[in-house]
Symmetry: C2
Subunit: 547 residues, 2 copies
Amino acid sequence: MHVQPDFVSMFERDLDRNAANHVPLTPTAFLRRAAQVFPDRIAVIHGERRYTYREVWERSTRFASALERSGIKPGDTVSILAPNIPAMIEAHYAVPMVGAVLNPINIRLDASTVAFILSHAEAKVLLVDTEFADLAAAALQLLDDPVLVVDIDDLGTGRGIGTLDYESLVESGDPAFECRAPADEWEALLLSYTSGTTGDPKGVVYHHRGAYVNALANVAVWRISGTPVYLWTLPIFHSLGWCFPWTIPLMGGVQVCLRKIDPGQVFELIRRHGVTHMAGAPIVLQMLIEAASAGTETIEGPVRVMTAASPPPASVIERIEAMGFETLHVYGLTEVFGPAVVSEPQDYWADLSVEERARIKARQGVAYPTVEAMDVLDPETMRPVPRDGSTMGEVMIRSNTVMKGYLKNRAASDAVFRDGWFHTGDIAVVYPDGYIELKDRSKDVIISGGENISSIEIEQVLYRLPQVANAAVVAMPHRKWGEAPCAFVEMRNDAGELTEADIIDHCRENLAKFKVPGRVVFGPIPKTATGKIQKFLLREKAALLQQ
Amino acid sequence: MHVQPDFVSMFERDLDRNAANHVPLTPTAFLRRAAQVFPDRIAVIHGERRYTYREVWERSTRFASALERSGIKPGDTVSILAPNIPAMIEAHYAVPMVGAVLNPINIRLDASTVAFILSHAEAKVLLVDTEFADLAAAALQLLDDPVLVVDIDDLGTGRGIGTLDYESLVESGDPAFECRAPADEWEALLLSYTSGTTGDPKGVVYHHRGAYVNALANVAVWRISGTPVYLWTLPIFHSLGWCFPWTIPLMGGVQVCLRKIDPGQVFELIRRHGVTHMAGAPIVLQMLIEAASAGTETIEGPVRVMTAASPPPASVIERIEAMGFETLHVYGLTEVFGPAVVSEPQDYWADLSVEERARIKARQGVAYPTVEAMDVLDPETMRPVPRDGSTMGEVMIRSNTVMKGYLKNRAASDAVFRDGWFHTGDIAVVYPDGYIELKDRSKDVIISGGENISSIEIEQVLYRLPQVANAAVVAMPHRKWGEAPCAFVEMRNDAGELTEADIIDHCRENLAKFKVPGRVVFGPIPKTATGKIQKFLLREKAALLQQ
């Protein structure tokens, strides 16, 4: 009996994947290559310490070997609680070398949240910078299962809480350790918990494929030339450090460490090391602007700054560019490996006034070239909103740079993966040129008398007042309209006086009547470690201010 | 009955690929994105013609639609015989849009080879630039199966041989045609026949995945900043145009067409359009040097030139750089999507003399960052050769940018895919810094008295003579030693006189005795369309010169 074989195209016959032409994509390849090609080039700078690529490779390999000897197996979780120090960078390289999954934890969380993450992530090892020893100790006390704790005494305090010391552990490792490559590019690379402004944090699982693609995409989008000197003003624990732990080795560049954002130190490092690139939330830019307005700080520039995490007020872009920084505004989320959308510069922008350019740059923009599709859809009908700059919809993304999903949380994954899209939960409009502009998180939209009000639109009006350092608008209950906007305002140190009535007058002049805040509250505005304003806390306050 | 499920890591559970987070990689996405983001920017320039990205997209879409209406189905082959003109670029975009496979044919082949390719590739359509109508007609006469012939009358000669005209075909297409994306990134994208210096040409099958990765890699390796203006001095039909048909749209850049290499026209286009980047074989550089030495040509520079295809003599690098070009030397093969190895510049090169820098740059270099592994191995033992700059071995590559294999030629595929490597057939040495230097094609090595002699080493010595324009060394039979080197030399037009004895004296001063050519033959040296010297023809001549 003859069975007719299915028709196979000649382009599929005897042309299979094999070991020579198909290799799982992994960003760790970029470090290995840098160590081979630029062994003696400085890779990491931290204070007076310098590590060449050869040294970073050897230290990471030893670290990986030591982890394996400690019983770490592929698929295990290694957590780390540390600022932007060499050990943090090395962990990004070493942990995947044993096939384990790195879990960088936000250093500004409270002990119970850290405990939740360690438990949920089933962490086998916790690396702790000694500055955060108390936080880690408090978190560990809340855990049932044992965790191997390794102290990183970057500050030389001697105040460890662990059973091992990081430098000794690295020292003990085998530099000839054979690094493990992923068997499949879909394997988990890293686990990053969302800041969780409400509810338990969700564990975003990254795959090797996405990090590889986004590391390359950063080069194209930022048009990185020469050998970048990259200053870590962005917390590495945030969204995989936007994939820069791999983009920089890919370019044979230098990573300059920074334990915390001190504007004076940022300016000093820029001058001392010839920093060419840095990234961070607009709040970082604002701190630099504040420091510069004190009159003592300058840069020889230009330094290129990639900014995201919250929509930068146009005034911030305008001022930081006047100081010699060149901004590139991007947008993304933890779930999409950091940046996925870019306010791609257009030729005609060069002819705009500084103010106009700042305003147009403040739009989030268009998809990264590696993002298959990004659009603003009506979440009910899943149809694109009109490109009119005013109709709001939800930002949706389809890309190889979207996470695997949320760890052990199928319901949450199912909620964001629907109809072939990742649902960002961010509300935006689309302009006729296809650029999107965020209007709100879907949960932050204010619904007043049936009208949707963008809190960001009101915030941008508030930022036009030179006295305003930070502004946030949330819904407060309103007897007649259901909700009404409530503004929280943080003034500059050196600002002149402004009353609630002054601010409301300013809003009346610049906003439709129904968008004018019913109340203005002065005082500090609570923020997450990454500079995101914690609107849920403001909403709690606003709830007490019913009109 | 309960079946115990296999253990699944928590990082694999409910974290599958889905339509939102996993999309087949395809370089055509870069054009679509450019059309969305830069619709009004010039994408292609040809003489006085200009096409914006919107127009290139629309024309390609119409072309794709027309192909589909003509009966082209996924997996069909569409061949094209054309120089670097807009239709050639558009074919790279349109043909994959219907899921078909583009087969660009070298325009300098003879009719019987073109016929072999059309037949072997099972071409359904042949697009022909009217300059090559006679060649195409002669080839078609040799075929049994009918092929739909489309004339591209770029020259306006009206001398078509086809049943359809390209511009009319494009015009007839539907601009709203829904483009097909590959269902799998391993699908065939393009079919490129090796120039086949011996035997029948082999059909190299490219996959979408590799072209995507190499298009991105070019940006990182060449450190392309700004908006590139790319001049097509490289034949697009050669190795997928080194993936630049996709690298340039990825960067929103401009492609400047060029029907043939005329040095005067190259200089004019550089000046007129502000060309920033170009690529080509060393022979192209040599033509520019010759033209400039006539004293009439200048560039304002710098223009960046990526050069490969045959090892550039250090003297060529030195002279072209003195003219204001910045060279980047790469190495690759048709089988690896064009460039895969780069003479990656090191910091200390800046301190070298021009001559030293040219010599060190002439080495082929290190792996592209996207190449998983590249090494020089003893093909018998498959062990790396020592890094001594003298032990020869075969260059082996393992990369996602290696072809699927040779079409309908399993034996040839099996011969190059062994032990997890792609065997390039190129012979090289490795220096202590890990940079490789090609010494020969394995079949070009001269074996004299049991010693391996690199023909390239002798050629480089010949190139040091300022009177030598081109040099090629092959084996000739030798009664005593088996083989001996035989040199073929092409002199510059304005060169002073040199005798065979002069040249042999020069070689005696610079080479070990057993490497000195036994004979020197003066006259033109035969080359392929891509500037590769056809050593098999020289070997035939040398065979008659037995010593």
